[in-house]
């Protein structure tokens, strides 16, 4: 059973585009949790959608000249304003989309 978790990035300047992240329950002993990177470029996320096992840390990097904020759709987490090249990480501990 998967819960819904949508992760949205609200740019500070003017626009919000979403990156869909689906975390699935990893089987026991599936290995070390890994890290996935998402780039913010031209006011959008790249890749725009990812699927990761629970326990994965997602790292967002702002490649724009304008600060952006990463905010989850349900407001369960929110980054501070990320200036150019600044990063934000969040570890997904629950299954969801």
């Amino acid at each position: 059973m998967k819960n819904k978790l949508l992760v949205f990035g609200a740019t500070v300047l003017a626009i919000a585009l979403g990156v869909g992240i689906r975390a699935y329950a990893a089987p026991a002993g599936a290995g070390t949790p890994s890290e996935v990177t998402v780039k913010i470029d031209n006011f959008s996320f790249s890749p725009a959608s990812i699927t990761v096992p629970v326990g994965t840390t997602v790292r967002w990097t702002n490649a724009d000249d304008i600060p952006h904020t990463v905010v989850s759709d349900d407001k369960s987490f929110k980054s501070k304003a990320l200036d150019t090249d600044e990063q934000f990480t969040y570890t997904f501990t629950k299954p969801g989309t």
């Binding site: 500070v12 003017a14 626009i15 006011f43 304008i66 600060p67």
Partner: protein, 331 residues
């Protein structure tokens, strides 16, 4: 200052025509929905007969010729983004100083300055300090602010309110009167909606309704806020989701002017008795709506940059009519 018709990215398109409404009955001016834009080093506003006209400060000689004087003149500056240091303008201090120089070069000092937000780039104390310091050199001593989204980062606007919100309501909205003109500063950057659209919120809307209720319909109204209160380009968040409600409270007035920033370019629209203006940034230009992959800072050749930045100057002349005419002679 160079202007180019149907320009390449980085050049401002000059509108083919300016909308005039020379009816003095104030009756039917609906249907004037065409947008226009002009290049500017900012804008100087003149109110004559309750009507606000906006002039580019890069054309001081022209608006002297047009006798742009009245009971009240003021200047709008916007989007100083102090702290920004990227390629689109590595020296926002210099361009801000240039804006102050333009203000000081006006034939007479304006009554005050309106700053329509994005004072800072990252809400850092030193960024606000720098702007405050640079403004001390301006001929006009009174400065009225509204916040941009860059001024309320990370703390829900607490610092902004401590610095600029002493005599304001809620997130920093307020009104004041000067020479018979009612000015209303609104805050639409606190709860950005999906897509980055601005939002005023119920509390502020109720306050606005009460604030203008007692005014006679001949009172000229000037509303200023950071994000445009009209739908410039919602795909880039260039609009305010509940602005229609706010504007409905202003429909009965003969002359309403809305001054905004945020989009780093000058635009004007007339709708009924409401005239909308957006101001240039003093820091960096942004692309025209929809032109380019995103609304990020527009990189232009250094020798063109200052032609795309600016200030707005407003002049009010008490007159017989209090009608929302727009009569800009800039292009």
């Amino acid at each position: 200052m160079k202007e180019t018709k149907h320009g390449k990215p980085g050049e401002i398109e000059v509108a083919d025509q300016i909308l005039h409404d020379h009816n003095h009955d104030g009756i039917d001016r609906r249907g004037f929905l065409k947008c226009m834009a002009w290049a500017g080093t900012g804008a100087f506003c003149v109110i004559k007969g309750g009507v606000l006209s906006s002039y580019s400060l890069g054309r001081i000689s022209e608006f002297e010729k047009h006798a742009a004087t009245g009971e009240l003149t003021f200047v709008q500056i916007s989007d100083s983004h102090m702290g920004f240091d990227k390629a689109a303008n590595p020296d926002v201090v210099s361009t801000f100083k240039a804006a102050v120089d333009k203000i000081n070069a006006l034939p007479a000092p304006p009554a005050f300055i309106l700053h329509t937000g994005d004072i800072s780039h990252l809400s850092k104390p030193e960024e606000f300090d720098t702007v405050d310091q640079l403004l001390k050199a301006a001929s006009a001593k009174d400065v009225f602010f509204v916040p941009g989204e860059h001024d309320v980062l990370n703390d829900d606007g607490k610092q902004y309110l401590e610095r600029y919100g002493k005599a304001t309501q809620g997130a920093g909205w307020y009104s004041f009167d000067n020479k018979g003109v009612h000015f209303v500063g609104l805050v639409n950057v606190m709860n950005l909606k999906a897509g980055g659209l601005g939002s005023l919120g119920v509390e502020q809307l109720e306050w606005l309704e009460k604030d203008v209720k007692h005014l006679s319909k001949s009172t000229p109204i000037v509303v200023f806020a950071h994000i445009p209160l009209w739908s410039v380009y919602p795909e880039w968040g260039w609009g305010t989701d509940d602005s229609g409600q706010a504007l409905s409270y202003l429909k009965r007035f003969g002359s309403v002017t809305v001054l905004n920033g945020h989009i780093h370019q000058t635009m004007q629209k007339v709708e009924g008795n409401i005239t909308f203006h957006t101001a240039s940034s003093t820091a960096f230009p942004q692309p025209k709506p929809g032109q380019g992959p995103s609304p990020g800072p527009l990189k232009v050749p250094a020798d063109q940059l200052r032609a795309l930045l600016g200030i707005t100057d407003v002049n009010f002349v008490q007159g017989r009519h209090a009608l929302g005419l727009t009569d800009s002679d800039l292009v």
